[in-house]
């Protein structure tokens, strides 16, 4: 089992803090009284609620349906009654609420009917739809809908399947523990992936600081009827990043702006494989996951947690301590601070890390960048972080993009090594979200311009049609007038006839206008009145201005 390994550039070696939680057995977290299940737990389209307030739901019942291809369903994690479908706090850094379905559990934990899928007999497209409706999404943290990733696309097969057991972030051990205790089930999931992707080479990459997990996976690999190569890779952060794992194992780099499937490689987290096995062999949707609760708690360990369980119940379970300075979802390198502890565990929650001043001293004050390029040496994306920082700080987003801002994976290595303690990743996140917002704004403006231009065109056309109709009518009238014998003896000239017609039309129009005068403008407060007058004046002016060029065009 000696495979040539490759080294990716950069990376750091933060203290690991793994053994604190990885050596303890898995415990099941108790059923909470209330579950809050967000509808947005994956990348892509938000799930649409398919239950109503007051409905009784069973464990595993779909409560939010997938909306589109890149989406995943969400399910009731236990039986109970839907008490609300509204905005609730969610584990997001902004602290903004999002649409959630709240379920009052009835402690019966009653399962809905579910049956294993005969995946080998199913049409792959149907199987993928089933997996989407079972709510499968990547459990490594990115929560990309797994069904979409299990589609080999136009290539019809994806030769290399990599199972990512890297788990390079400090403190987190849920994948390690899962591999130690459920290696067989993980490989059952791999069998399904292999079936859907048509993969021939299967690699399991595990960092060499997890010898027990490596041993367990190797033992399990002996028992399956397909070849699985379990590879110990060097421990270095972010060696568990998908792109880094690909390079370590195969020496290939995913081309910038493309997907790994473009070079015939697909990567899944071990947790996803386990969830897939539960879905296919038991028909169970993704309603629970393994969560590491660690940091400043009394008993650091891994729990099987129902999706929707409030985070504070887990911290209480692990034994909360005085001196807590905050809670992170995820590890210390890429984790997200939680706005409060009412927020539920979601599919992306791999770790709940409780901070204290001893474990995570407050970060020192930032100094100016001295361009020492330690960040560039540490950057696994081979970027020049110091330049990106300069551009992002100055708001020069165009240059930031030229310097490959969007190849940044936000791993935090640059911030970690920065001797000036600059929160570099923050600047990249800011620049990225600003660029996205501007693109969105630009699209909106383009749409508005298009709509406006079309309207102008439509008005013009209607005007022309009307004019033609009127001309035809006038012609008819004139003919009529001419046919009548002149009573006064002097035939009215053509021009006079036209004038008379216009005068009559004007009178009609004025009468009509008087009729349709807005009736609700009496008894208005003076400021409202003034506002209306102002806007009226503006409209009049616009009308005036709009008419001028038209008239000048009509003259010749």
């Amino acid at each position: 089992m000696s495979r040539e390994l490759f080294k990716f550039k950069g990376g750091v070696h933060p203290p690991e803090h793994k053994s604190e939680s990885s050596t303890h057995p898995i415990h099941a977290a108790p059923l909470p009284r209330k579950l809050v299940i967000p509808l947005r737990q994956h990348i892509g389209q938000v799930a649409k609620p398919v239950v109503n307030v007051g409905d009784r739901v069973l464990k595993g019942q779909m409560i939010g349906a997938a909306d589109g291809y890149i989406s995943a369903a969400v399910h009731a994690s236990s039986s109970g009654v839907v008490t609300a479908i509204d905005l609730q706090p969610v584990p997001h850094i902004s602290g903004l609420p999002d649409l959630c379905i709240s379920i009052e559990t009835d402690s019966r934990d009653e399962w809905i009917d579910h049956a294993p899928l005969d995946y080998q007999a199913m049409v792959p497209a149907d199987l993928r739809m089933q997996l989407r409706d079972l709510g499968l999404a990547g459990l490594g943290g990115a929560v990309f809908p797994s069904a979409a990733k299990l589609d080999p696309g136009a290539a019809h097969s994806c030769p290399t399947l990599i199972l990512n057991g890297g788990e390079c972030e400090p403190w987190i051990t849920c994948d390690d523990v899962l591999m130690r205790h459920h290696a067989d089930e993980i490989l059952q999931g791999v069998a399904v992936m292999r079936h859907l992707l048509g993969s021939t080479g299967i690699l399991v990459g595990i960092e060499d600081n997890k010898p027990e997990a490596i041993a367990a996976m190797q033992a399990a690999a002996q028992k399956v009827d397909f070849a699985v190569e379990v590879v110990a890779v060097p421990t270095i952060y972010p060696g568990g990043g998908a792109k880094q794992m690909i390079q370590t194992l195969t020496g290939k780099q995913v081309p910038s702006g493309k997907l790994s499937t473009d070079i015939g490689i697909q990567v899944f987290n071990v947790g996803t494989a386990h969830a897939l096995a539960r879905a296919v062999h038991h028909g169970e949707p993704l309603i629970s996951r393994l969560v590491t609760v660690t940091g400043h708690v009394l008993r650091r360990q891994n729990f099987v947690v129902l999706i929707g369980t409030p985070m504070h119940t887990l911290i209480t379970l692990a034994g909360d301590r005085d001196g807590t300075t905050g809670v992170l979802m995820g590890g210390p390198m890429m984790g997200v601070p939680m706005p409060n502890l009412e927020v539920p565990v979601v599919k992306a929650t791999n770790c709940i890390l409780v901070k204290s001043n001893e474990l995570f001293p407050p970060l020192p004050r930032a100094l100016p960048c001295i361009r020492c390029t330690r960040c560039a040496d540490a950057c696994p994306a081979e970027l020049q972080p110091q330049e990106l920082f300069r551009f992002a700080k100055a708001g020069d987003f165009g240059r930031a993009q030229e310097y490959h801002l969007f190849d940044c994976i936000e791993c935090g290595c640059c911030s970690y090594v920065c001797p000036s303690h600059i929160p570099l990743v923050d600047f990249y996140r800011y620049a990225k979200s600003e660029i996205w917002a501007r693109e969105k704004e630009k699209r909106a403006a383009d749409l508005a311009r298009e709509r406006h231009e079309f309207r102008q065109f439509r008005l013009e056309r209607e005007k022309k049609e009307k004019a033609e109709k009127l001309a035809a009518k006038a012609q008819a009238k004139r003919a009529e007038l001419a046919a009548e014998p002149a009573a006064a003896g002097s035939a009215p000239s053509d021009a006079d006839a036209k004038k008379a017609l216009i005068a009559a039309a004007l009178a009609r129009a004025q009468a009509k206008k008087a009729e349709t005068m807005p009736k609700n403008i009496d008894h208005l407060p003076p400021d409202k009145q003034r506002e209306i007058e102002e806007i009226e004046a503006r409209r009049a002016k616009i009308r005036e201005m709009a008419r001028q060029p038209l008239e000048s065009e009509e003259k010749p």
């Binding site: 990716f8 550039k9 750091v12 933060p14 203290p15 850094i93 400090p170 792109k243 020496g251 290939k252 780099q253 995913v254 081309p255 910038s256 702006g257 493309k258 992170l328 995820g330 210390p332 390198m333 890429m334 984790g335 997200v336 601070p337 901070k355 995570f360 970060l363 020192p364 004050r365 100094l367 100016p368 960048c369 001295i370 361009r371 020492c372 390029t373 330690r374 560039a376 696994p380 994306a381 081979e382 970027l383 020049q384 110091q386 330049e387 310097y403 490959h404 190849d407 935090g412 911030s415 970690y416 090594v417 920065c418 001797p419 000036s420 303690h421 929160p423 990743v425 923050d426 996140r429």
Partner: protein, 344 residues
């Protein structure tokens, strides 16, 4: 405050402290071979630099503590002091340091913002304004009959008074000066290096000073404070340029080893050209920066108006840094290699 929530133990202060520590061998050799005068110069430069730094921080509305304790002002002060003649008068030291800190550093925006190396700006201003005083080097002790004590050195620096009858014995031309003067007087290199000031590779004493700076530089490299790119390219630039000239006319151009073992070259290669703030940041850019500075150093030494060219060469290359950086951006992860598809 978002992720990451842990930091490596590095800091600007730590980086600067290592730079200062790496200068200690050079200082020790200087004291041993050239007398204790350098200690007076260093102390005066430190005091001036810290005072100027504090005043400028206050004037610009920045907090004093984090910036005074980052040690960057002291690094500038030491680099300038080590470039000056060991018995330079006090006002020369003060003027140079003030110019370095106030103009070259703070008027450009302070730490991290200066496009020129402050110490070299200070040096350049001094050598342009006071060329005579800038060449009054204390000779190596082995060539001096009555070495000066610390107190005597201080009185020379502050009072400008040399102990009677020792003036000529104490100060003398540096090897580079001697070479330059000799060449101007139509002597050949072989004739010039018979003078007592010349040693095995460089000047007597000076070659040991250069070796001490080299040692400190290697320490910085071993600690990953500096990368190998700039020093190696700088030394290569000097060796190749000097070697090329020496090969064609050994009588008119000094040997490459002689040029390499001038103390200013080792100090420049490992401590000044490697200044991250004013230097190139990309690996290829660092090589270009070093080679260019080495080449220009020899050009200025050979045809310029000053005996040494390290300071001017580095300042000129500082000017080119934005351009160098822009055109040497390395390939990023997953980016297509030039002329072929990304390695698949």
């Amino acid at each position: 405050m978002p992720a990451p929530f842990i930091l490596d133990r590095s800091s600007v202060t730590q980086v600067m402290a290592w730079v200062l520590a790496a200068l200690l061998p050079g200082i020790a050799v200087s004291v041993w071979l050239f007398g204790p005068g350098i200690l007076v110069t260093l102390s005066l430069a430190i005091v001036t630099a810290l005072a100027a730094e504090a005043a400028m921080l206050k004037a610009r509305g920045y907090p004093a503590t984090p910036f005074l304790t980052d040690l960057s002002a002291i690094v500038t002060a030491w680099l300038l002091a080590l470039s000056l003649p060991t018995l330079a008068p006090w006002w020369l030291i003060v003027t140079g340091t003030l110019f370095a800190i106030v103009v070259a550093k703070h008027l450009y925006g302070g730490l991290g913002q200066n496009i020129f190396n402050p110490a070299m700006v200070g040096y350049a201003v001094l050598i342009v304004s006071f060329p005579v005083q800038m060449t009054q080097w204390a000779g190596p002790l082995s060539l001096t009959e009555t070495p000066l004590t610390l107190a005597q050195s201080a009185s020379v620096i502050f009072g400008g008074e040399f102990p009677k009858a020792t003036l000529d014995a104490v100060t003398m031309a540096t090897p580079l000066d001697a070479l330059r003067t000799g060449l101007l007087q139509q002597y050949t290199v072989d004739e010039i290096i018979t003078q007592p000031i010349f040693g095995h590779y460089g000047g007597v004493g000076f070659e040991w000073l250069a070796a001490a700076f080299l040692l400190g530089g290697l320490l910085l490299w071993a600690l990953r404070i500096i990368s190998w790119h700039v020093p190696l390219a700088f030394l290569a630039g000097i060796w190749l340029t000097a070697g090329f000239l020496h090969f064609f006319d050994p009588g008119r151009f000094g040997a490459p080893w002689f040029h390499l073992f001038a103390p200013s070259v080792m100090l420049g290669a490992f401590f000044i050209a490697t200044d991250p703030v004013s230097g190139a940041t990309t690996p290829r850019g660092k090589l270009i920066f070093g080679l260019g500075a080495g080449f220009l150093t020899i050009v200025i030494r050979t045809w310029g108006g000053y005996p040494d060219g390290v300071a001017f060469a580095i300042l000129l290359l500082n000017l080119c840094v934005p351009l160098i950086d822009q055109y040497t951006q390395p390939r990023v992860y997953g980016e297509a290699r030039k002329g072929k598809e990304p390695q698949a």
